[in-house]
Symmetry: C2
Subunit: 336 residues, 2 copies
């Protein structure tokens, strides 16, 4: 099983990316990794640990300052474009992992790999913790800023298929992000999307508000990428803000410092629960012909390990086949 | 100075509403309160404490199940409509406080009171804490679900005027909610709004993401009511979720329970910082000809006290006059 990794994408590339790939190779004995990037530097990091590693040289790097589409077009020798070429041209490569610029990863996916037949737009679906034991995904979280109802319908199908694999849950609860629970609520987009989701082959539980996102009552939150991004980033920011207020207050009170020593386990719990990225790796770009997992730019080796693991799980559980089946089911419903 | 209060709006009406009004009367010696609702019940709660209190009887109540516009039209004897009539017809009444259905409060404001000349849409601007010492408001937070760029421009002017009064800050930092910091980012609405805000007589600091909401780097976050609602509710939900995860973890670990005792002061700090509603009361419906403050449905007496106090502050600092001046300045810029 082969996975291609963009070794020069991300703030901590190439060291953390290469080390993450090595961790994955240790864990999955039938895995082979293709690292794209400056061969000399990668070889130095590998320092002899090159079993089941192939390097494909790429001298350029795409940065966040590059215009995504133009970068894909005019930097053919960048680590990301070379990785996409490997993914595209070699049938035995099951997926790509990159922590590079989100825009460029998206542009490359569309220009180099293409969409699953019937899917209008690929979408990003990051995972967040909830206050119960379950996690929640939001789709789309920023790949598609202006959306039509059909896009949101496809997001719902893809999100449901993805969640059901990652959490082994047969009928994930899919909700539409809205400004109220009632069916008639929402902006034009939400109002037009509601009946589509109601009739789709998913477990649609209706409208949910931003406040329900971390409630544990929703598995898949469907939104356009603009509102979805506001919800995702707002949630992450709020979690960080509360922890920051907590720390500041602890520093201010002597007794709290003593209390902190007793509560270390609790703080570790929260850190583990909130820092879900290292457990789950990046977010897949759902709806492309091949598996693509986008990591956060600041990710470290454990995130890369988790992303490679996720690629394997999604491959072994036939994510794309499931998405195709859902689209076919939808189309046959419409034609019935 | 007279303020009219919808004594039968909200989950804890009429008891908490009436008690809140009484707290305000204790604090502001030149305040008079007009309570609208079932006279007999209000009189019972007052139990003789009726100095500077006037009751205007209203036998009906508007609930969340009522259709807002129809309720305003067909329940002329409801506590909210009667309160709006008092606000409209009596010149000496400076403002209205209600914890009733948001939709009905909005509908009543537009149908009974009307907009300030030049303002396209009134908007709600709730306050949230940040991780620094400052607070942040979001405008609009759900009153206007489908928006045009001109609406967002007016939200920015109104939000800036409001924030500058409440926090005595000359040039609040106004940002546009977006999915990235760069000028060209955003959905169609955000892209068209950006140049309007850039040229407006406000301290516009550019695009900010949901993650910047609680950073302390923004004073006034401008958004359409759909995305703004997602951000606001998502943030509130996330804060609640973190605290809930914290509590659950404390219960699970014995040492943490001991730690908790030492950290009581810290937890009180956080509660105070997050529970900003009781400090600030409800959110004003900015842009109406008279002051209207909408409280959360679940509010208690302290929130009502804070809302009455806020109405007084906004009145004494000429909020509506400032909004009119900002609109005039904008128009003279456009004509220049």
């Amino acid at each position: 099983m082969k996975i291609v990794v963009d070794a020069f994408g991300g703030d901590n590339a190439p060291l953390e990316i290469v080390e993450g790939a090595l961790l994955a190779l240790k864990q999955f004995k039938d895995l082979e990794v293709i690292l794209c990037g400056k061969e000399e530097i990668i070889t130095k990091i590998l320092n002899g640990r090159n079993e089941r590693v192939e390097i494909v040289n790429a001298d350029e790097v795409i940065t966040n300052d590059d215009h995504p589409t133009e970068a894909i077009r005019h930097k053919p020798n960048s680590s990301l474009v070379v990785a996409y070429d490997v993914l595209k041209n070699r049938e035995d490569v099951i997926g790509l992992v990159s922590a590079g610029s989100t825009g460029a990863v998206l542009a490359g996916a569309i220009m180099k790999i293409g969409r699953i037949k019937g899917i209008s737009r690929p979408a990003l679906a990051p995972i967040l913790p909830t206050k119960k034991d379950s996690d929640v995904i939001i789709i789309d979280s920023g790949a598609n800023i202006d959306c039509k109802p059909i896009n949101l319908l496809h997001f719902a199908l893809m999100g449901s298929a993805y969640y059901s694999i990652v959490y082994n849950k047969k009928e994930p609860r899919v909700a539409l992000l809205n400004n109220g629970a009632e069916e008639e609520k929402g902006n034009e987009l939400a109002k037009e999307t509601y009946p589509l989701l109601k009739n789709a082959p998913i477990n649609f539980i209706g409208n949910k508000e931003g406040g329900d996102f971390m409630s544990g009552d929703v598995d898949v939150m469907v939104a356009d990428g603009f509102a979805g991004n506001a919800l995702l980033k707002g949630t992450e920011g709020a979690v960080g803000a509360v922890i920051s207020i907590l720390k500041k207050s602890i520093k201010a009170h002597f007794l709290s410092k003593i209390g902190y020593l007793f509560m270390k386990k609790t703080f570790k719990d929260i850190k583990d629960r909130v820092d879900i990225l290292s457990k789950h790796g990046g977010s897949p770009l759902l709806g492309c012909k091949k598996l693509i997992v986008k990591n956060h730019g600041s990710c470290k080796r454990n995130n890369i390990l988790a992303s490679i693991e996720k690629t394997i799980i999604l491959h072994e559980n036939h994510l794309n086949q499931r998405i195709e089946e859902a689209i076919n089911k939808l189309n046959s419903q419409e034609n019935a």
